[in-house]
């Protein structure tokens, strides 16, 4: 069997259920692959791991991948299991936010570490400065939780539809107390959770073949997970080495993630790609990327895998 190492973007959770399902259900085995899944973490940059040869393929968000590409790390998207973006800004009504016009002067929690790019281009499209000026918003580098909105340190925090939003709900705030701004709805959505490899590896036919089998098995995993959310969540729990994830939370997450993967067969749609690029290029004074990327994606793998 061929060895493949997959680097995840974040800790073991239902966000990555498809891969764990493929592993657990033997889809990788059937494809004659020996897959190792490496969970991520707050200080794991999948791009860097890929560059360092610590992984063959990685789950990454497209803005980060494109930024890395401009930094001289030629990452290529070979598949896009997530069709839509799950990012949103969740705000408390009682802090006085009901539309995007209310942002000015408010403190907003944002994830950094390569996840800030969609936010920054959104703000620049809204004409709000993020560097502490009067007319702008106060940006808080949000940690790994939603505490800032709970104890009133921030008016809004970044949340994923499938994860942090539910933490806010679990903490006692109701949907009525909250206003959410989905990036999809704001027209600033960027592609999340794609599979990326290094360009130079793709010229190797053996590697290409491995990836074809990998993507195929992974998509099989995703589809199974979409259909069997509860079982998929249990599989994820099985693989969670921290032992801190809860069943309830993961099942719910799987349900939400399924909404995002629905509609993707794994192949990247060029229109989605262009929408992401446009959104990023519009990034105002300090854009994430400066020019239209070339060769940042390929259908070579999905074409073979999905047909």
């Amino acid at each position: 069997a061929d060895d493949v190492t997959l680097q995840l973007k974040w800790v073991t959770q239902a966000q990555f259920a498809g891969y764990y399902v493929a592993l657990e259900n033997g889809y990788y085995n059937d494809a004659d692959l020996n897959v190792t899944i490496k969970p991520g973490g707050p200080d794991i940059a999948p791009t860097q791991v890929l560059a360092g040869g610590g992984a063959d393929v990685t789950v990454e968000w497209m803005p980060a991948a494109l930024a890395a590409r401009e930094k001289g790390l030629p990452m290529v998207n070979i598949a896009q299991p997530f069709k839509s973006s799950g990012m949103m800004l969740t705000c408390r009504k009682d802090s006085g936010v009901s539309t995007t016009d209310d942002f000015a002067g408010k403190t907003l929690g944002v994830w950094f570490f390569g996840n800030e790019f969609p936010f920054l281009s959104w703000m620049s499209q809204l004409g709000l400065s993020t560097d502490g000026g009067d007319a702008g918003v106060e940006v808080l580098k949000q940690g790994f939780n939603v505490d800032p909105i709970l104890n009133g340190q921030a008016a809004c925090v970044s949340t994923m539809t499938y994860n942090e939003y539910w933490q806010v709900i679990d903490a006692g705030l109701t949907a009525d107390d909250l206003v959410t701004f989905k990036y999809e709805d704001q027209g600033v959505a960027t592609l999340e959770d794609g599979l990326y490899v290094l360009e130079e590896n793709l010229s190797d036919p053996a590697f290409e073949d491995k990836m074809v089998r990998f993507v195929k098995a992974s998509m099989q995993g995703w589809k199974w997970a979409e259909e069997n959310p509860e079982e998929a969540a249990m599989i994820v729990l099985e693989y969670d080495e921290t032992g801190a994830q809860t069943e309830e939370h993961q099942i719910r997450m799987m349900g939400e993630v399924a909404k995002l993967t629905a509609g993707s067969n794994g192949a990247l749609l060029e229109a989605d790609f262009q929408r992401t690029v446009d959104s990023l290029l519009a990034g105002g004074s300090d854009p994430v990327i400066t020019k239209q990327p070339e060769g940042a994606w390929t259908h070579a793998i999905t074409d073979k895998a999905l047909n």
Binding site: A45, Q48, A51, G52, A68, F112, F113, E116, G143, Q153
Partner: protein
Amino acid sequence: MTWLIGALFFWLAAWALNTRLANSRLSTTLAVRTFIPVLFGLTLLVLWEGLVRGLGVSQVILPAPSLIAKTFVGSTDILWVDVVQTVFKGALRGFAIGALAAFAVAILIDRSAFLTRGLLPIGNFVAALPIVGIAPILVNWFGFDWQSKAAVVVVMVFFPILVNTVQGLRETDAMQRDLMRTYAAGYFQTLLKLRLPAAMPFVFNGLKIATTLALIGAIVAEYFGSPTRGMGFRISTGVGSLDIDLVWAEIAVSALVGSAFYGLVALLELRVTFWHPSRRS
């Protein structure tokens, strides 16, 4: 390859020079005593540069020192903002508060033998704890700006200083104390004229340990939430956006600031404890 061999050669030559200098008559002069470690540091940098270039290591993994230096010079404005946020606002204030509090508590509990015996083992124990772990809790309590960083620093430096000060206050020898007794000196007289001066070497021991802790504490705490500036912020986001050269520039700043801070405390120590046997020769 030439880079590798060149770096290796430089290293050998520098080491040979250092060996000669260290064993020469001049080795006690200040100039040579600073030159030798500086040259040693330089060889490390050259070796690093040679390794990175010779092996063609990607700059998103380990940038060469030359690139780091360039980034450093080009981003002094960012670096300065970060130093102000992390060091001046977070670390130094936390250090000052923590040190003063520890000092005051040490003097207070020292009056009671019961408290000393009860608190000292606990203090010793807490000083050995991985206190950085409380960073998320304190960020939650004190907010994301510098206050929570200072709070982490306060907690981190408090116990080492407390333990050292209490120990230092007990460090007078019996004869020195007996002398004060024969003068029928009061508690404050004894404290002021005997025990505090005698405790100073220990106090500074604690302060020196605390300097490095302060910086680490302030930086780690920024991982759990911060404004969009600060050394910890820049380091963590820098890795995410593959600005590894900027990350290293921040590391260099941290080393510079940390060494300067340590050096300052050490200098102060030299002036205050000039009389201590370990300082004389």
